[in-house]
Amino acid sequence: MNNNAHIPKQDLSLYAMQALDASEQAAVKAHLDACEACRAELAAIMGDLALVAMTAEQHPLPEGARQRFLGKIGADRIGAAQAADKKVVSIAVGSSAQKPRPRRAAAWIPWSAAAALLLVAAGLGEKLHLANIELEQQAARITSEAGVNQRAREVLDVLTAPAAQHILLTAGSPRPAPSARAVYIASRGALILQASNLAQIDTGKTYELWVIPANGKGPIPAGLFRPDAAGSASVVLPQIPAGVEAKAFGITIEPASGSSAPTLPIVLAGAAPSAGE
């Protein structure tokens, strides 16, 4: 036993990296087999080496590498299935071999066709199996995202439900002024407007929201709306082009069918903060 002389830690570090010379490597290995303390120290060093290993710059896998791996682990089961299939086929061959007289070619054609079909089936089975794995993973992803979607939908429902009461809290002014709040994401062309305390308008009229582009082009119509009895209204995700930087938003009163250009006066307007704010 060489327990009484533990391996110097310097040498253990090198041993862990296989950086000792062959004879030294063997001597350390012999000691380790008998020495728990040195094995524990080696395990600690391996932990350090794992950290060094992970400093390697990260690269994405070569194309198709993932599929090749899935194929490998799927191929296992398929391999077993093929082996089982072969057994069936070999019984058929055995039964024909019992007949001493050679049979007509036509007699074995069905068997070869059956074997070919089994191979095709095995191939399809493999594809199906891989597809199933993908499907299960997608299902897991969808489940985890469904919760988030559900929440987003609830928020949207609260904001836009006809039954929702919109209450503006102010510092005690008797008649709050009409106001609206727009949320806009230019890159997606996503726009949500919440308006309150709007004046009631004639039945032949409508409010219309406009996006006023920063590039100086004409205002883009962004939805028609009428206030409820309390003067509240909303426009949620109107069909507008994406990627339009907005300079401002405006609301006008238009004929019930809307207009392609705003009719003055603009009853409510707000400038968009400049990009990056």
Partner: protein, 202 residues
């Protein structure tokens, strides 16, 4: 005493804000150990999850050693297939799966580089690291710490660690290559690893 009545907006705001966190937890819900248990039962979905979690790390380590994408992919494919075939070789108590995969990937790649037989059966690689590196974010933080620390070491000490670890040179070869005495090479590599351990635990 109760915070709810004094903050009626709280529950809504909290539950809404906590959703992304919950989702993150779902994503990381399966611990490596639980996945390995499922791989023992031939669960291909669990194996695929392990693969997706660590493939790029294992590939990158092998690529760093071999500098050859095809060779690095071979190493990666072989290691994950081994996990699939003999998950028993990796059981709880051997340290983190991430660390184990990283070390085995380096060892296999160096074996190829040096054209020697696989000298280190996987079951012999045992790690003491308890750090949970299953979450990519934690791995990234850890890597950043280690990289920063290695960068701060004296240049020749960094080089010697790199030569031993990623180039797979023995201490005598490093000594011959750099002209640094053998004993100094040993000491520097050892002290680099010790200081690394300290930096990560700090």
């Amino acid at each position: 005493m109760t915070e709810e009545p004094s903050n009626p907006i709280g529950p809504l705001a909290r539950s809404f804000n906590s959703n992304p966190a919950t989702r993150g937890a779902d994503h990381q819900q399966d611990s490596d150990a639980a996945l390995i248990d499922r791989v023992l039962l031939r669960d291909q979905v669990a194996m695929t999850t392990i693969f997706d979690r660590y493939c790029s790390m294992v590939y990158s380590v092998a690529l760093r050693v071999l500098k050859d994408p095809a060779g690095a992919e071979d190493v990666m494919q072989q290691i994950f297939f081994e996990v699939w075939e003999t998950p028993r070789n990796f059981v709880a108590g051997r340290g983190s799966l991430a660390g184990w995969l990283a070390v085995v990937s380096r060892n296999r790649a160096v074996d190829i580089l040096r054209r020697r037989k696989p000298s280190d059966p996987v079951e012999e690689v045992e790690l003491a690291s308890e750090t949970n590196l299953a979450a990519e974010a934690e791995r990234n933080i850890m890597m950043e710490k280690v990289r920063n620390h290695l960068d701060k070491l004296p240049r020749d000490q960094q080089d010697q660690v790199q030569l031993a670890f990623f180039e797979g040179l023995t201490h005598s070869e490093i000594s011959a290559l750099t002209g640094v005495p053998l004993g100094t090479v040993k000491t520097r590599i050892r002290s680099a690893l010790i200081s690394l351990r300290g930096a990560v635990q700090a």
